[in-house]
Amino acid sequence: MSRTIDAVVSPTQTNTIPADISGQMLDLDEDDDLEVFSKDSTLADGNMFNASMQTSPGSMVNQCKFEEDEEGDSKDIFITVDNPESHVTAIETFITYRVLTKTTRSEFDNSEYEVRRRYQDFLWLKGKLEEAHSTLIVHPLPEKFVVKGMVERFNGDFIATRRKALHKFLNRIADHPILSCSEDFKVFLSAQAWELTTYKKQGPGFLSRMGETVRAVANSVRGVKNRPEEFTAIQEYVEDFSNKISCLDKVTQRIVKEQKEYLEELKEYGPTYTLWSGSEEELAEQLKGVAGCIERCCKETEEQVGHLSDTLVPVLHEYVLCAETLKAVLRRRDNIQAEFEAKNETLATKKVDRDAESSDLGFVWGSLLGKNPEEARHQRQERLDGEIEELKEEIDKLEDRVEWANNALKGDWGRWQRSMRGDLKSAFFSTAEKNVDYYEKCLAVWETFLLSQRTEPSEETDRDNTP
């Protein structure tokens, strides 16, 4: 079940069918046990696609069930990212990539879209998805700049690596049962450049976004008090996983480096035998033979290093980024819970306030303003009651939000773990397979040489036997 990252996406192993909003059943040709989501009528009016608004948690929970991965060709959307092109304007130079979408989903007007997107657009999409689904796990984007090695943004290798990562990013979203239904995602895939620019400008303004950020910071400072055990367990796992995967990433990059240095020396080694053969008569053939073997092993080594760089290194790197994403998701979940807890505390305080004996201060003020103390107390009670009612409503909403956030995370967590296992297993398997292949090819090279040597001794034995 190995995944290859090709230019054209091949059907993947995870298959949960996204909701079909128009009420038409999807074409389930082969597999009967593919899940079809039940639909809520609220989806029909496209609520779900207004991602700039927090969707009602209740409806969301009803819609999407996170089921076990199913085998089968039920993908109804195929996305490729290719064709990087450089654009030069007066202000800047940047690269755009062609994003090609083929889909049978009915929320799309056409069945095919071809647009050009730049890295910034991908960043925007990711941001929107995380904003709308703060406790879902969005696959990481390749980094803005590669820290080590390449500094130049327009280096061929850098662009190729980035393109592959962007391709994977979009496909992961397309595979995700909830994220792939996002309106932002749809716009990203289908809108022309100017349309996208206009669309981006919609939504909560700068100030309200700032407000969100401030709240988030305040919440994280406050901290969560009663985190459920399972999330603590997940957090501990993520910490450990992050360490391990970073280690593996470093080790693998080191192996690539050592292997490349080995290759450099090996390239100089073969020619020393060729040089020697020039001085010899009897030995010339053997020496050239050895030189040839070394040369062929060089080619195999080069291929093996290439495979390592193309297959294992990117996957490990992706999961290093994933670990950071997971940490952020857990933080956001904590913040949601913290906000809920904070509101509860405020409620408790207000209740205490209301039930408290009328404060002397209030009485004094009231009398100063010429109010009847009884009236003042009554007014105050009413006011507090109103506030408490409001708070209770807010708390209900927050409670729902916490519940939904937790469920979303739990569901996505299982999904993420499965795909992590699948990805890493296949990457390591593929590496081991390539290494076996490498040694087998080198073995053949040397065995052929040996064979050619062993047939010659027949001349030697004749010579020894003559008296």
């Binding site: 391990k244 080191r254 080995y262 450099e264 020393t272 020697w276 009897e282 020496l287 081991a432 040597q453």
Partner: protein, 437 residues
């Protein structure tokens, strides 16, 4: 017990009617015969068994630590009725081996004498110790010293040498014996001759070619060994880094449920892979030692060529001297002065000599000419002898070299095959483990 030997000297083929090809062939066949009958190895087992450290005072009366090697010998036919008697043994240190070799070089200048292992390890890759006291270095030197003795013992000429035999059999007093042969004086004059600068007019072309060959061989083999050491270094790095996979997989497996077992066992295979490189490179070191021996052989080749040049030069000098004497005689007889000489000038200025003076000079010259002709004849014979005997040994050496190096290359291929097979096994196992993840 002296080895029962055949002829003390190399049989000299005096029949000059044969073509050079036939001559060569005859020489080869004779060599094989002689090897069969006079090789010391046929009569005696020789081995360098162990090494030990000793302390003692050196020539400047300072304390030093040195290594001695145990030389064991046993007659081949000593195995009677299945009982193998204990070998005779004695201890020798490296400097005594050096003395033996120098003695052989001086005494048999027409022989390409096998080289000793290097005094200090020079071409090494970083994990290999260059320390003379390091046990791996000592072990490899032990093997090389044994090889040296076996080379000498199987050489048709050298194996019969008494000094060599005593080296193997009598620990005390050997050094004194060597010096008693008067070898030191010969060694000094040889050293002087080796370093002297002179030009030979008509060297044997084969020796000139041989000298070029030995220079080339030295260059290419040095380079090969240097690059090989660097390759070994890098390969070591690649294998060892994989050991880190072992550690991290093991740690990672602790936090994974489904993947844990697969990761754990994959980790063990990575450890095995990393560890396997030590043996692989140790084996390759033997291959490098085989090449090194021939690298050092080039010095012996050059020495023989040099000796030929020296002999040839002496012959040319003697011939030149004779020619000039003859010319002088002719001038004296005919009265013509063809060559410039002080005598000629002074006689022009101060008048001719008397008839008696001329007669006396003539007699001296005739005497000198006679002696000169003897000298030239001697030198000629010497030179011819040398060329013949040297070339026999050189052919023997060439055959030995081709055989040995061919075998070395084959063994190198076998080493690579073994390494590939190990790699296939490890990664196939790892693949299985990953599959179970």
């Amino acid at each position: 017990m002296m080895a029962d030997s055949g002829p003390e000297e190399i049989a000299v083929i005096g029949n000059t009617d044969l073509t050079s090809a036939e001559l060569e062939n005859n020489i080869k066949n004779t060599m094989v015969e002689i090897e069969k009958w006079t090789s010391l190895l046929r009569k005696m087992e020789i081995s360098v068994g162990e090494a030990e450290k000793r302390t003692g005072k050196n020539t400047v009366n300072m304390q030093e630590i040195y290594t001695v090697y145990l030389i064991e010998t046993r007659p081949v036919d000593a195995v009677t009725e299945g009982i193998i008697p204990a070998p005779d043994s004695l201890w020798r240190r490296y400097s005594e081996f050096e003395l033996l070799r120098n003695y052989l070089l001086v005494t048999y200048p027409f022989v390409v004498v096998a080289p000793l292992p290097e005094k200090r390890a020079e071409i090494v890759w970083h994990k290999l110790s260059a320390d003379n006291m390091d046990p791996d270095f000592v072990e490899r030197r032990r093997v090389a010293l044994e090889n040296f003795l076996l080379r000498i013992a199987s050489h048709p000429v050298l194996c019969n040498d008494k000094i060599f035999y005593i080296f193997l059999t009598e620990e005390k007093g050997w050094k004194e014996m060597v010096y008693e042969t008067g070898f030191q004086a010969k060694a000094d004059s040889r050293l002087k001759a080796m370093n002297a600068a002179f030009r030979v007019k008509n060297p044997d072309k084969r020796f000139t070619e041989l000298k070029h060959y030995s220079d080339e061989l030295q260059t290419v083999v040095s380079q090969l060994l240097r690059v090989r050491a660097r390759v070994a270094d890098r390969l070591y790095g690649v294998y060892k880094v994989h050991g880190n996979y072992g550690r991290v997989f093991s740690e990672w497996s602790a936090i994974e449920k489904e993947m844990g077992d697969g990761l754990q066992s994959a980790g063990h295979h990575m450890d095995a892979y990393a560890a396997s490189v030590d043996d692989i490179l140790e084996e390759e070191e033997h291959y490098a030692d085989q090449l090194k021996e021939y690298l050092f052989y080039t010095e012996a080749l050059r020495a023989v060529c040099r000796k030929h040049e020296l002999t040839q030069f002496e012959l040319e000098m003697a011939a030149q001297d004779l020619t000039s004497k003859k010319q002088q005689k002719e001038e004296l007889v005919t009265g013509t002065v063809r060559t410039f000489s002080l005598k000629g000038m002074t006689s022009k200025l101060f008048g001719q000599e008397t008839a008696e003076q001329r007669e006396a000079k003539l007699q001296v010259l005739e005497q000198q000419i006679e002696e000169g002709e003897e000298a030239v004849k001697e030198k000629n014979t010497e030179s011819d002898e040398f060329v013949k005997t040297a070339w026999v040994d050189i052919e023997r050496f060439k055959d030995q070299k081709d055989r040995d190096l061919k075998e070395a290359l084959i063994s190198y291929a076998i080493m690579q095959i073994s390494r590939c097979k190990k790699g296939i096994q490890v990664w196939t196992n790892a693949k299985e483990c990953f599959n179970k993840m």
